[in-house]
């Protein structure tokens, strides 16, 4: 087993920053993943309020520009530095895995793939759940990382999860030490207080208790914006002032917004707030699983933490009674 001593951890990070773009959890007004300029800002323990998805699946992406029937795409894969992302929690890492499935497996999205391929993912295991909204232990999360760090007294134990991770260790070998310490099964586990008791929610679609959540929902889409897994987007055209050049853009979109399913002519398929609220939960806990064998939700709790009315859909589901 390898370890990094905490006493040399800052040197390690400084060394990474010299040739790479270092991204880590920082806290300013809110906690988020940012490109690090000053390593004293890094807070490894932080479970960020905002997800890390913006580094791969960008909030705004220009797909191409068009001028007189000629298309120009932003140059992909160039001399951009390698990016090292550190401090990702198990939920964050699993969400990246799910987004990889959508943007690199279902269809090869060049914009996402470029950002993803130049990134090394270094996880940081939570010894304790961050707060009462975390429920990752009911979501069957897998191992998905290039390197994973386990906080153990005065050192981080290191697990290697990929070829990319192994090469990275070789490059920074002087910071990694062999150790007799090892990880027990319980060192890898996170026991969250909040738990989803129902694995299969297919029977609950017409349950009247959905009302508890729907009544408090503003359709504000904060849950989707803060979700590290949600991947739905909008495409639209933007024209310059002379109307001679246009750009095709991609933005994050949300199934919670009323116009999300609006077709030409004005019909809206998911017209009621209840339709939209349930659609999100079912996509997270059933539809994605039917298609890809795993929940889209990774239990990070951001949608509950960031909801203006703190709708706790886990609690709502747990309290739902089976109908005759």
């Amino acid at each position: 087993m390898l370890k990094i001593n905490k006493s040399s951890f800052n040197d390690f990070l400084t060394d990474i920053m010299r040739y790479n773009e270092l991204v880590a959890p920082v806290k300013t007004d809110e906690s988020r993943f940012e490109v690090v300029k000053d390593i004293s800002m890094i807070q490894m323990d932080l479970h960020t309020y905002f997800p890390a998805k913006k580094f791969f699946f960008k909030k705004h992406q220009t797909l191409y520009s068009a001028e007189k029937n000629r298309f120009t795409v932003p140059e992909l894969v160039t001399d951009k530095k390698q990016r090292v992302m550190i401090g990702l929690k198990r939920c964050d890492l699993n969400s990246i895995k799910r987004q990889d499935m959508m943007f690199m497996k279902e269809t090869r999205d060049p914009y996402y793939t470029e950002e993803r391929e130049r990134t090394i993912l270094i996880g940081h295991h939570c010894n304790q759940p961050f707060d009462e909204y975390c429920f990752c232990s009911s979501m069957d999360l897998g191992d998905f990382y290039d390197l994973m760090l386990y906080d153990k007294d005065d050192a981080y134990l290191v697990e290697i999860g990929s070829e990319k991770g192994r090469n990275f260790v070789d490059r920074y070998r002087k910071y990694f030490w062999d150790t007799d310490l090892f990880l027990r099964a319980e060192d890898r586990r996170i026991e969250t207080k909040l738990q989803l008791n129902k694995r299969d929610i297919s029977q609950y679609y017409n349950n009247p208790d959905w009302k508890k959540g729907v009544d408090q929902c503003f359709s504000c889409a904060a849950c989707v914006t803060l979700c590290p897994s949600c991947y739905c987007f909008d495409l639209y055209d933007e024209v310059d002032a002379k109307l001679s050049k246009s750009e095709k853009k991609r933005n994050w979109d949300s199934c919670q917004l009323h116009c999300f399913t609006k077709v030409a002519g004005g019909h809206i398929f998911r017209d009621t707030r209840e339709d939209r609220f349930k659609h999100r939960i079912y996509h997270q806990l059933q539809y994605f699983k039917d298609r890809h064998g795993m929940n889209l939700c990774t239990g990070c709790g951001r949608c509950i933490r960031g909801c203006p009315t703190r709708i706790n859909f886990i609690q709502i589901l747990n309290e739902m009674k089976e109908q005759a």
């Binding site: 140059e75 739905c232 987007f233």
Partner: protein, 279 residues
């Protein structure tokens, strides 16, 4: 300044970027009705009836349009002017460039249906995808049993494919209706809803498959009528309409209860989605 790369598609340069549309030349524009027109482009590639293309006007947007033909030499798109993109498309002329991506989605599984008798029920611009089936049947005459057609339109002015209609009337059993006839035009079809014609008809479900495409209410009523007449859900194919942005099975707009209309549809065998709530 970010670096960029220009794709010269007019010089045959290819790209694997799934979002980039490719240029085709318009070879024919034909006005079909006050709000519908047909565009033919010189696209030479394979597609199936029931599939769709993303038609794009740079600077305006993209719209999913279902194919209304079956050929490897050209592509017909029947377009109804209902939104921004389609209104702009109506201004295009012969010789203009039309940008398209596709074909996308699952079409009608014609090869699997060899030996069956076919029934086509279409309402309004929902007739367009069914037109491709009829061309397919023309090219595979001996592979299918008899073909019965039920096409309904709002008024006589709204009747689409008037040229083709004459041929279809000769070759197949064509039943047509208009909802109303406000100008009292001379017409050789019934004035009623197309669903009334289906209701009155004596239909034998044996060895038959039905294709339905039209407004949601018309499809719903037709399916009920057919089920009452002894048709099973797996004999019915419907073509669904949803908002489609990426057409790649990612953006999420077209999702119906976990199924992507752009990947798993737009043509569904009815038993595949009949259990699904309309969300």
């Amino acid at each position: 300044m970010p670096r960029t790369k220009t794709i010269n598609q007019d010089q045959g340069e290819k790209t694997e970027n799934p979002y980039l549309p490719r240029p085709t030349k318009i070879t024919l524009v034909r006005r079909e009705s006050p709000d519908c027109f047909l565009i033919r482009t010189d696209l030479k590639s394979k597609y199936e009836p029931g599939q769709f293309f993303q038609v794009s006007i740079p600077g305006i947007g993209e719209a999913p349009i279902s194919v209304a033909s079956y050929s490897q030499d050209f592509l017909d798109l029947n377009i109804r002017e209902v939104g921004n993109v389609t209104k702009y498309l109506s201004k295009l002329k012969k010789g203009d460039t039309l940008f398209i991506r596709g074909p996308y989605g699952k079409g009608y599984p014609m090869e699997k249906l060899f030996g069956k008798s076919l029934m086509l029920i279409g309402g309004g611009s929902g007739v367009a995808p069914l037109k491709g089936i009829l061309t397919y049947v023309d090219q595979h005459k001996d592979s299918f049993g008899d073909v019965t057609i039920y096409f309904g339109f709002r008024t006589p002015d709204d009747i689409l494919f008037k040229e083709e209609m004459k041929q279809w009337r000769r070759k197949y059993q064509l039943n047509m209706s208009v909802d109303k006839n406000p100008k009292k035009a001379k017409i050789s079809c019934d004035v009623c809803f197309i669903t009334n014609l289906v209701e009155k008809a004596k239909l034998n479900p044996e060895n038959k498959v039905v294709f339905i495409c039209g407004p949601p209410v018309m499809m719903k009523i037709t399916i009920e009528l057919l089920k009452n007449k002894g048709f099973k859900e797996d004999q019915i194919y419907i073509s669904t309409e949803r908002l489609m942005k990426c057409a790649l099975g990612v953006c999420g707009h077209c999702m119906i209860h976990g199924k992507y209309t752009c990947l798993d549809g737009p043509v569904f065998r009815y038993d595949e989605i009949s259990q699904d709530r309309n969300d």
